[in-house]
């Protein structure tokens, strides 16, 4: 018997954008039933390549072979017809529609919701991905939404399933369940393209890997035979940088104290915060783990002052600030780095020097209501130099910077305000490995000067790298913080799905529902 045709073959794919070559001469082969990893860090060109396969982006050069025949995929509908399914990193679901309605929109078949709902139920149960077809998507957890995306693909009898960073939103336990499902699909002959930058996941799941860097293929590997370090070298071209956490020797006093903070969200799709208590001391980093959508946005707004509440629910260095607005809290030494850099942490179309003014205006940049743009520019220049921000100078628009460099600028700006307390959300989201290491080290160094830092992140590895203590936010409730040494990813993962144990949540009498 001759070997079967490859399911998918890409030959010399090239895609140029005005400012960057996203893919340059990329070739890869995926066999039926193979789980194939595309490994690369942010900006390596993985997502562009997947969009080319899915027909959402057109390649400038190169060929695509499908089951041994050359094909040109003009649009996603055609890709679906060939049997290509895609699970997006930022889900392509409609919040206000129900599960079955979302699925109906991609299926090329007569519109019959009740019949489809029955099939959704059947398929979702067969693969261990239970779903209620009539639930609204906005009421689903992130993990459930991913199930919807996967089931949506499965209903089209895919021959190739593309998953773009699928585990960034899952608990460690849910990742294991996902892997089971994927292995089962592969055993049924479905090929899987698995895009990730998480080395150990690729090692445990994938049969083969194509490694990309700067838009080019830098190697192929059998992940089982590699070590995370050897994969990392292929991915970033050098050793993985490691952060150093020196011991804090200064005075150990509480800076931020949150006392039974409860908050009903303004957003109809938001999460209600219940009875949140926490303390961050000078010189330490408190990490808050959890999957976005579990009250992270609400907690951040309540802490930063974008949303105000009861006076005595939040204390900063011994002073009740719960009733103060964001500006007033900033004046008392609180700074904040939000997860949305463009549009919240910085105004996209304004220059860096004008963006410096956004929060640094208290640093003597204004007098009698008039602004000194010269001082703002000097501030921006200092920030750029001190925090190694690569950009076209202080007059460059914020949106012209890469994610990592803009994040360095925003973090730098906030640090230069000489804070008592710094709150950071997703410090390294979408940032390349080098910049991420720089940012983490910057936060560690800052904390050791006596600043209290609260980090909210979805990346457990990151939290374990930089935090002194870790708490978990799930369904609007916060577990008690535990020192890093006393906990591990497994137990944090359980808490992320809402299972708090008695000692972790002394104020709660029972278990939260799983």
């Amino acid at each position: 018997m001759p070997p079967p045709d490859p399911r998918l073959q890409l030959l010399h794919i090239t895609k140029r954008y005005p400012s960057v070559v996203a893919n340059s001469d990329v070739s890869l082969t995926v066999m039926p039933g193979e789980i194939h990893a595309i490994l690369g860090e942010n900006g390596a060109g993985k997502s562009t390549l997947m969009k080319i396969i899915y027909g959402a982006v057109k390649a400038d050069d190169g060929e695509m072979m499908w089951d041994g025949r050359q094909v040109a995929v003009a649009n996603p509908a055609q890709a679906r017809k060939l049997g290509i399914g895609m699970v997006f990193q930022h889900f392509s679901l409609f919040e206000t529609l129900s599960v079955v309605e979302n699925i109906a929109l991609v299926l090329d078949e007569p519109f019959d919701l009740p019949a489809l709902a029955a099939r959704v139920k059947e398929v979702s149960e067969r693969y261990g991905l239970p779903l209620d077809p009539y639930r609204s998507v906005h009421s689903l957890s992130v993990g459930e939404r991913q199930r919807v995306e996967i089931v949506r693909c499965l209903l089209q009898d895919p021959k190739l399933l593309i998953l773009d960073e699928p585990t960034s939103v899952l608990t460690p336990q849910a990742v294991q369940k996902l892997f089971e499902t994927l292995r089962r699909l592969a055993s049924e002959g479905v090929s899987i393209l698995y895009i990730s930058h998480k080395l150990h996941e690729i090692k445990s799941l994938c049969d083969s890997a194509t490694i990309m860097r700067g838009g080019k293929v830098t190697g192929t590997a059998i992940p089982r035979d590699e070590t995370p370090a050897s994969l990392a070298r292929m991915m970033i071209g050098r050793e993985l940088p490691v952060c150093e956490a020196p011991l804090y020797t200064g005075e150990n006093r509480p800076i931020l104290e949150v006392d039974r903070l409860s908050l009903v969200s303004d957003d109809p799709f938001g999460t209600t915060l219940e009875n949140i208590s926490l303390t961050v001391n000078a010189g330490e980093i408190l990490g808050i783990a959890g999957i976005s959508g579990n009250g992270q946005a609400e907690l951040l707004a309540a802490l930063s002052g974008e949303c105000t509440g009861e006076r005595e629910s939040i204390w900063l260095a011994g002073e009740a600030i719960g009733h103060l607005d964001a500006g007033q809290r900033r004046a008392k030494g609180l700074v904040f780095v939000p997860e949305e850099r463009l549009g919240r942490g910085a105004v996209p179309a304004l220059s860096l020097s004008r963006n410096a003014l956004l929060t640094a205006h208290r640093q003597g940049m204004k007098q009698w209501g008039l602004v000194s743009y010269r001082k703002a520019k000097e501030f921006a220049e200092q920030c750029i130099a001190r925090f190694d921000v690569r950009c076209g100078g202080p007059e460059a628009a914020a949106r012209s910077l890469s994610g990592g460099n803009l994040q360095k600028f925003i973090v730098g700006r906030e640090i230069m305000l000489a804070p008592k307390l710094m709150i950071v959300a997703q410090p390294t989201w979408g940032v390349d490995v080098g910049a991420a290491a720089f940012l983490r080290q910057t936060l560690l160094d800052l904390s050791r000067t006596g600043v209290a830092i609260l980090v909210i992140s979805e990346e457990l590895e990151e939290l374990f790298e930089i935090s002194d203590r870790i708490a978990v936010l799930a369904a609007g409730k916060l577990s008690a913080a535990q020192s890093k040494a006393a906990t591990n990813a497994e137990s944090v993962g359980l808490q992320m799905s809402g299972l708090f144990n008695e000692t972790a949540q002394p104020t709660e009498s029972g278990h939260a529902p799983a």
């Binding site: 400012s19 057109k58 900033r330 919240r344 209501g369 008039l370 012209s400």
Partner: protein, 352 residues
């Protein structure tokens, strides 16, 4: 159908050439319109845009029309920067005129030199009040200012109509819907003999300078800009959204109210149903055409005044309806918005 893709850096060149492109495009479309109406475009433009400027009287009329447009647009630009869309300046102008006119009617016959200053203050208050109403509705009840300001314009029109048909109707006006003619003390003094140019010019002049300083240097102006471009960044920085709404709407109402007094205590000289040929709406275009910049608005205001003058001239010489002014205004705004798209975007490169 996707023609554009974002630029990394907004184009400063496009920011300032967009109005010129829009003007040229409007002239081209206008030529087509004249040609379609069997009129020579060149001769028509001669009537429309050149002839009004061949006499010193024409220039003085240009000034008279430009002043209220510039004044209103300065106030509107504040709000537009913050993306607070006050499209009811016409109504605020009317209420300002009513307040100012009320003072004139009440003090009719007085020879005090304070009548005019009192009218100016009353007009500013009236306009500000009519702007404050939508601000209240927005901050308190979350009601869209676009719709409320516009609806309040209709309401203002009917109030004016009631006043000049009822309590303030000139008893000797043969039942025309108009008030008495104001006395000399209730009119701005004429500046240039033989023209209608009056001392209200100084109000506009002062406003231009004040708004120029405000835009160039004030922190509040920066806050408004941030609030308009990125509301989340504004909340993040701790700027007050309510303050932005109040300030934008009250200031734009105030300038519109001042413009209203300028009309009734100037060229119109009384309260009647025709105190404004749509200045409040045209000023929206002036503000955008002038790049929301105090000095840019001066140039844009002059151009818009010329379109008004040209429309009047076309009515006389070309027997065209005055409505052609509205067509030109609409086209100008469309082309301007189209050209503005290229500040932040550029044409998508065709796929090779």
């Amino acid at each position: 159908m996707h023609l554009l893709e974002p630029r990394a850096q907004p184009s400063q060149l496009m920011r300032w050439t967009a109005p010129l492109i829009a003007i040229v495009a409007t002239l081209l479309a206008g030529s087509f319109l004249f040609w379609a109406l069997d009129k020579s475009p060149i001769a028509s433009f001669q009537v429309f845009f050149i002839e009004p400027l061949t006499t010193s009287y024409g220039w003085s009329e240009l000034l008279i029309k430009a002043c209220p447009l510039i004044l209103i647009a300065q106030g509107l630009a504040i709000g537009f920067k913050a993306r607070i869309y006050n499209i009811g300046a016409e109504g605020q102008l009317i209420i300002g005129a009513l307040f100012g006119g009320g003072v004139a009617i009440y003090f009719d016959g007085s020879d005090s030199a304070w009548v005019i200053p009192a009218m100016v203050v009353a007009g500013a208050l009236g306009g500000a009040l009519w702007g404050a109403l939508p601000a209240l509705l927005k901050t308190r009840f979350n009601a869209e200012e676009t719709l409320t300001t516009l609806m309040l314009t209709y309401v203002a029109t009917f109030i004016l109509s009631y006043m000049v048909n009822g309590p303030w109707r000139d008893p000797e006006g043969m039942n025309f819907p108009q008030s008495i003619m104001f006395g000399d003390n209730a009119l701005f003094g004429i500046l240039l003999e033989g023209s209608r140019v009056n001392t209200s010019v100084f109000i506009t002049l002062f406003a231009v300078l004040a708004f120029w300083l405000f835009n160039a240097r004030s922190f509040l102006s920066y806050q408004l800009e941030v609030g308009g471009q990125a509301p989340a960044a504004s909340r993040y920085a701790g700027f007050s959204a309510k303050q932005t709404v109040w300030f934008s709407l009250v200031i734009s109402g105030l300038t519109a109210g001042l413009a209203g007094v300028g009309e009734v205590a100037g060229p119109v000289g009384q309260l009647n149903l025709n105190i404004s040929p749509g200045y409040g709406f045209a000023a929206i275009i002036v503000a955008y055409l002038g790049r929301l910049h105090a000095l840019g608005i001066v140039l844009a205001g002059c151009l818009m005044a010329l379109i008004y003058l040209g429309g009047e001239a076309a009515q006389v010489s070309l027997q065209m309806p005055a409505a052609i002014t509205g067509i030109f205004q609409g086209m100008l705004l469309f082309f301007l918005l189209g050209a503005d798209a290229f500040i932040d975007n550029r044409l998508r490169k065709p796929i090779r």
